[in-house]
């Protein structure tokens, strides 16, 4: 045997061991699956906050920004609240299904580790779908309850018809211990103790009865030789074979079992009719939340240019802002997809800073060109500024705030994104 053939078994063993030992664990659930330019130009998730459980480094009862704490610990049965605002940008891509379209507020998590008990849009309980419109601001709140143990990355998500899920910022939650049940009070005042097992007895009973009848019929027929029957048919012909192979007893047994099955259905139907009345069919859920008016003074914004340096992760944007209100405003925050950058003069504790070059105050009636700078590796880590994509765009929501704390959110989308390796 030549030299390399002798080494082949050794190589195979080494490769198998390397594959087993070398790779590190990996986990993902597709947050970065959508291109950055789509995530930025659809929905800006502003001020997403979680509340509930024990958040590492946060005092109990205090809400925390999504992703700001490494882990939240909770027990089964504990509640988790997710709330915030999202702006549907005017820069909604033309290649996506156009708005208005039906949308649904949901959570993205691996399986039903939580149950979603409440959904509110603009203060109205909105359990089902609603119409999503371009340029509108929505305020949402969801109340979840921890249901099953595990480590879960939870995101708020808006599913949009024809587009798919648009995912907000996520937070790791560790659910351990505790107990969970899902009671429900009916219209007639009766209470279902736990939806997790409601009706299970009837499901098992009915399926078992059906299976019993079927097994009885099959068991009756497979007592007899099977393959031999085909030989009789081939030999004697179908009509004659039928006379030979199907006896009166066979017909009576088969017909009798069928009749018994039919009677069982009839009895089951009648018993159920007597037990349950005042039922309603499945409901088509239509709730249209009211429009949310912006709290701050009216502002117009037009982004003229954006530059980005992938080496230093600096994004610089020129935005012309017109203050149409009667109080001065300053840029408070810029949010692209689910990344938020805060003005340090308003939020000194924020980890991601929005720097305004020059004076940031815009007087009433004034039009000013602002140069906004945002420096953070998150642009790269979140795959938002991918220069290898067919569209180089940046977009987001610019939040302007007056002296009273009232905010106005405007959609900002420069016509192009230029790579600029000189940006520092």
């Amino acid at each position: 045997m030549s030299g390399w053939r002798k080494l082949l078994p050794v190589a195979i063993v080494v490769a198998v061991i390397a594959m087993a030992v070398w790779p590190r664990g990996a986990e993902a659930h597709g947050e970065h699956a959508q291109e950055g330019f789509l995530r930025m130009r659809t929905i800006a998730w502003v001020d997403t906050q979680f509340a509930g459980g024990v958040a590492e480094g946060v005092a109990p009862g205090i809400p925390y920004a999504a992703g700001a704490v490494p882990r939240v610990h909770m027990k089964r049965g504990d509640t988790l609240e997710i709330k915030g605002r999202f702006l549907v940008l005017d820069a909604w891509p033309a290649q996506l299904h156009q708005l208005p379209a039906r949308a649904f507020l949901n959570v993205a998590a691996f399986g039903p580790h939580f149950t979603v008990e409440e959904r509110y849009i603009n203060g109205v309980f909105t359990p089902g779908s609603f119409m999503l419109e371009k340029g509108r601001l929505y305020e949402y709140r969801m109340v979840l309850r921890a249901r099953d143990e595990g480590e879960v990355h939870v995101h708020p998500v808006v599913n949009v018809r024809g587009v798919g899920p648009i995912v907000g910022p996520g937070q790791w939650v560790n659910i351990e211990g505790g107990s969970y049940s899902n009671p429900l009070t009916l219209w007639n005042g009766k209470t279902i103790s736990d939806l997790e097992t409601f009706g299970l007895n009837r499901i098992i009973l009915w399926h078992a009865l059906a299976a019993l009848f079927m097994v009885a019929l099959v068991a009756y027929w497979v007592r007899k030789p099977l393959v031999r029957r085909s030989m009789v048919i081939a030999d004697a012909g179908e009509e004659e074979a039928e006379r030979l192979l199907l006896s009166r007893t066979d017909v009576l047994v088969t017909g009798g079992l069928a009749l018994a099955a039919g009677l069982t259905v009839l009895i089951g139907w009648a018993v159920t009719k007597a037990q349950y009345n005042n039922l309603i069919p499945h409901q088509v859920i239509v709730t249209e939340p009211p429009k949310l008016e912006q709290a701050g003074p009216p502002v117009a914004a037009l982004a003229t240019q954006a530059r980005y340096n992938p080496l230093t992760a600096v994004l610089q944007m020129e935005v012309t802002v017109t203050n149409k209100g009667d109080t001065p405003v300053v840029p408070a925050q810029f949010t692209a997809a689910y990344l938020s950058f805060y003005n340090p003069s308003l939020r000194p504790d924020a980890s991601r800073k929005l720097t305004v070059v020059g004076s940031e105050v815009i007087a009433p009636g004034e039009t000013r060109q602002l140069i906004l700078r945002m420096v953070d590796r998150a642009w790269e880590d979140e795959h938002l500024m991918e220069l290898s994509q067919p569209q180089l765009r940046a977009a987001g929501a610019l939040v302007l705030q007056d002296a009273f704390g009232r905010q106005t959110m405007v959609s900002v989308s420069p016509p192009a994104l230029f790579p600029d390796f000189s940006l520092q």
Binding site: V157, L195, P225, R228, Y276, H282
Partner: protein, 254 residues
């Protein structure tokens, strides 16, 4: 001796114990070989053609669910009924198909939906088809006619589907005041247990104009399902005939 007498004696002849044993082994081998195929065919057909309506309790409405489930799920039982009747004169084809499918569908719901993804069984219970399968086979045994079975049996199959499953479904149609909205228990379960890839707007329920007749939606839909099930039955026959012809030619049996 007439041919029929030869055949009768051949069929009833007490074969040598060794022959009889190996004959039963052959029967068993054939069943074991084809049972998974039949089970897979029934289940995959249902999942692909009518999946969501069978997966979730909040999709089990009184219009689309009976229409899709009954007309889709008759195809494989009808194909098997044809094969078993034509080549073995056994009126158990539909029952076998549904029984095999029942095993796989419960394995799927219990292992995949419940133990793996953690959905509760009351949310994901499969529909019952066993009673209809028995009726279909019973009508074939009594009438000894595939045409009568295809018309009367298939009509009954579709007509009684919703009423067959009423025993399980009814408790989930009780109304509840859910934060000011009147919803059924099934609706609430669908909203509370999140399905990230199945948003609420995808749910196709209570759509269509069938309720325009008489105001009695369930009866009208049931009759319509029966009619469509007749078409599904004959589609199953065509598939059964085509598959067996192909197998026979492939194995040079005929």
């Amino acid at each position: 001796m007439p041919v029929a007498e030869v055949s009768r004696q051949a069929y009833e002849l007490p074969a040598l114990p060794l022959v009889r044993r190996w004959e039963r082994v052959l029967d068993l081998l054939i069943v074991v070989a084809f049972a998974p195929l039949v089970a897979a065919g029934t289940t995959i057909f249902l999942i692909l053609a009518g999946g969501d309506w069978d997966f979730w309790v909040d999709w089990k409405d009184r219009t689309w669910w009976p229409f899709i489930a009954s007309s889709v799920n008759i195809v494989v039982p009808a194909a098997l009924q044809y094969v078993f009747w034509k080549y073995l004169r056994l009126p158990i084809g539909a029952t076998l198909a549904v029984l095999a499918g029942l095993i796989t569908v419960w394995v799927d719901r219990a292992l995949n939906f419940h133990f793996w993804v953690l959905y509760p069984i009351p949310l994901v219970w499969p529909a019952v088809f066993g009673f209809q399968a028995l009726l279909l086979d019973g009508i074939l045994a009594v009438s000894r006619s595939l045409i009568v079975t295809g018309l009367l049996g298939a009509l009954l199959w579709g007509f009684i589907f919703y009423h067959t499953n009423w025993f399980i479904l009814a408790p989930y149609l009780q109304p509840a005041d859910y934060h000011g909205q009147l919803l059924t228990v099934a609706d609430i379960m669908g909203l509370e247990y999140p399905r990230t890839a199945t948003p609420e707007y995808l749910r196709i329920i209570e759509k269509g104009a069938l309720r325009a007749f008489l105001g009695e939606t369930t009866l009208v839909v049931s009759f319509f399902c029966g009619v469509v099930s007749v078409a599904g039955y004959w589609l199953g026959h065509v598939i059964g005939r085509y598959v067996t012809n192909w197998i026979g030619r492939f194995m040079r049996l005929w």
